[in-house]
Symmetry: C2
Subunit: 289 residues, 2 copies
């Protein structure tokens, strides 16, 4: 892990010392998890895919009946996060957007005054080999919440189910855990989206009932199309993973991680497959441009 | 609404001015909803059913792999909330117990240092008629999250699904909304448990797959047993509600609310039924003792 820029926090546009960056205990984000968030890569002082993250944050807010974040203010926060970041330095930017304080119990206030928290956090110290040689992954026993709620389909502050899934392993050699719905359909990893390659075709769960369509997932599908690699979103049964030619994971921080092992068994020959490699290289080329 | 005692907040046992009662933005309660809570009635300076609430908080913490709250400290907080409360005054006490700060992303820290927030809040201003003549209730379109997650079975800080359900109505004459699972089984209200009376028997959803067994629900079942009124926990289809002889709701703040109208149609003759009345009176007698 390269040393990155120091932590930084802005709340509603005002700079805060990270150690003293606080919110009211009455904020509905703390009381109920009533809000949404985004996590993005800060590379060379710029937030990667900033527009896509802002759009998704706005969409989530709208679905929750919250006024959308003030774009100029949020953009100014993101710009501030890039200040003083040297070339080659990396950090994570997290935006939390809550409904603020007020309301009567669960009932939101008629005119919410949201709380916007923007944080600059250390880049995670994943081994470089994970990107290059692939990662080990397990299937979680914890089930994804099904079709019911908005929770699984927006990037909400309600992350307890995924925390419970993440607690299923402590082995630092395991990079990720996959969640299925109650019918055995793959939904997503705890912090990633999953792709399988079968007979030259890329498949990713359609997330029609649950699951969060990641920004990098969306970009990856575009990249596949631009390379002429057939790709489709459809229900993907866990049973199909064992016979896949390749598996890989995506998210906004790690980009593409080839999966070399699932539940202790090698995926194909245990090395990143050719389509994974092509997509990973193409995505990295876009982001390096 | 009678004027109640002023708001009060203690964080990890230290008194805070409510306007300045804050938690770190890095607290996992704020970041992820990683914690549990309890809401209880403070009557004449005492927290009603304090032991049952503390027990449930401890159980929830244990299920989440958190160290349980230090009982003496929590008990001291609850005692403090009762100080200066005059006879006849009422307030709500809410306890929030989070995993504190730390960890790597979703992965909790190996040795969590939880955050305990205890708040004294105003008693809600529900009309007295709701207890006496019954309430109007709707069926929510929002579905309860099913069997999947712990979220629905412990009193977690992830309340977004119930907030979305609560946002389905703004008419102040509607007291509560009911949530069904995806199979049309009644689970619970947004902040209450539901009971039906059919041919002299009391029925409440068994909450085997989802739903929170309330402290007052548990007490009500004991009261029914002590009065010789047959009561059972079993799956309860929404379709059964239309033909029920009586319906009522319970929670720790309101006690028993008869339901006089469901989705715009009177329940039986639109007046609280005899078994509801008996159980309500018996419960209130226990709490008045």
């Amino acid at each position: 892990m390269t040393a990155g820029p120091p932590a930084r926090v802005r709340i509603n546009g005002a700079e805060q010392a990270p150690d003293a960056a606080v919110v009211s205990v009455f904020d509905r984000g703390f009381q109920y998890g009533d809000g949404v968030f985004e996590t993005a890569a800060l590379i060379d002082g710029c937030v990667r895919e900033a527009d896509a993250h802002i759009d998704r944050l706005c969409r989530g807010a709208r679905l929750l009946g919250m006024p959308p974040p003030e774009r100029e203010g949020l953009q100014a926060d993101l710009t501030a996060m890039g200040e003083g970041v040297a070339a080659g330095e990396r950090a994570v930017v997290k935006v939390v957007y809550t409904r603020g304080s007020g309301g009567r119990g669960l009932q939101p206030p008629a005119t919410p005054r949201p709380t916007r928290v923007v944080m600059r956090l250390p880049w995670p110290g994943h081994p470089a080999a994970w990107r290059e040689q692939g990662v080990r992954v397990i299937s979680c026993r914890t089930r994804q919440m099904s079709g019911a709620a908005l929770d699984g389909r927006i990037k909400s502050m309600n992350q307890l189910n995924h925390i419970v899934a993440r607690m299923e392993w402590t082995d630092p050699e395991i990079a990720e855990g996959l969640l299925c719905d109650e019918d055995g359909g793959i939904v997503e990893g705890t912090v990633t989206n999953l792709f399988a390659v079968r007979e030259g075709e890329v498949v990713t769960p359609d997330l029609a009932r649950s699951g969060l369509p990641g920004v990098t997932r969306g970009r990856l599908l575009e990249v596949a199309a631009s390379l002429g690699i057939p790709a489709q979103e459809r229900p993907l049964a866990h049973d199909e993973l064992g016979t896949a030619d390749e598996l890989f994971l995506t998210n906004s921080i790690v980009g593409v991680w080839p999966v070399r092992e699932l539940d202790g068994r090698a995926v194909a020959d245990g090395r990143p497959g050719p389509i994974t490699r092509r997509l990973q290289a193409a995505l990295e080329a876009i982001y390096a441009a």
